[in-house]
């Protein structure tokens, strides 16, 4: 059977939601505590990697296909660039924190940082999608025994 034993599968089924939630928490409170977009994105990608290790690649790819991950990746990066250009359009300076300058929030709350929150979310999305894609692509090679008795590597087809 693919994947790991029943114990690992059961524990993964319980734990993966909490890892995902923890990743989202680190992304959103990035301006208040250490963390931010990159660290949170890595943790979200780790939850998907745990799913891949425990259940096998086909199961995970049915839940988040590689084409969807490509699209999420590009959208996250484009969202970051749009936020930066937004400062250009409405304030005249690239990357300006327009939300904070116009609607300043109270300190130490979630909404206190303006566009930094949206940038963190965009980066978290991009990093999670990218690391998941890298893990899936780098794990496609297998060593099989060819007809003439020697070992060779084959690569599975990447779905378009």
């Amino acid at each position: 059977m693919t994947g790991m034993t029943v114990i690992v599968k059961t524990v993964t089924r319980w734990v993966k939601v909490f890892i995902f939630l923890y990743g989202i928490y680190i992304i959103i409170t990035g301006h208040l505590a250490p963390g931010g977009g990159f660290a949170g994105g890595v943790i979200i990608a780790c939850s998907y990697m745990l799913l891949t290790l425990a259940y096998g690649k086909e199961f995970t790819l049915k839940r988040l296909s590689s084409r969807a991950a490509h699209h999420l990746d590009s959208s996250g990066a484009l969202l970051f660039l749009v936020v930066a250009l937004f400062g250009l359009g409405s304030g005249g300076i690239f990357f300006a924190n327009v939300l904070q300058n116009r609607y300043p929030g109270a300190k130490f709350t979630l909404l206190s940082s303006g566009t930094i929150l949206i940038s963190n979310i965009a980066i978290g999305l991009k990093v999670a999608a990218s690391l998941f894609l890298i893990f899936v692509i780098l794990s496609v090679l297998r060593i099989v025994l060819a007809e003439d008795g020697s070992q060779k590597m084959i690569q599975e087809e990447e779905e378009e």
Binding site: A33, P34, F38, F108, I137, L138, L141, M153, Q155
Partner: protein, 115 residues
């Protein structure tokens, strides 16, 4: 004193990247070198008896300046770690493709370009 240890780590990474024969070991040497420089950069910001640079609920900016360690190298190091991740990923992908084409990880046999 601790900066000399960072430098020693850098030299170990450089030695590993330049003299080993297995390409995966060369990539590991590159990673050690990058992390040595990141460590050096973080240690530059240290202040004796300093606290972490997070503004507390009731404190003002002046106390923050007087007591915390320098937060700028920490921001630089986060960026540098991400860049190191990108380069390492690309290097490992190249190693896998090289194994697929040449059948070996040994760099003295991956030598078709001469002259």
């Amino acid at each position: 004193m601790v900066y000399a240890l960072c430098f020693a780590l850098f030299v170990i990474g450089l030695y590993c990247a330049l003299t080993k024969k297995n390409i995966v070991k060369i990539v590991i040497g590159l990673t050690i070198m990058e992390y040595a420089v990141n460590l050096f950069l973080v240690l530059l910001g240290y202040r004796k008896d300093g606290v972490a640079p997070i503004v507390e609920e009731g404190a003002g900016p002046l106390e923050f300046l007087a007591r915390s360690v320098d937060p700028l190298p920490q921001a630089l190091v986060v960026t540098s770690i991400v860049i190191g991740l990108g380069v390492t990923t690309l290097a490992i992908a190249l190693c896998i493709r090289l194994y697929e084409k040449y059948g070996t990880f040994d760099i003295s046999e991956i030598r078709r370009l001469k002259g």
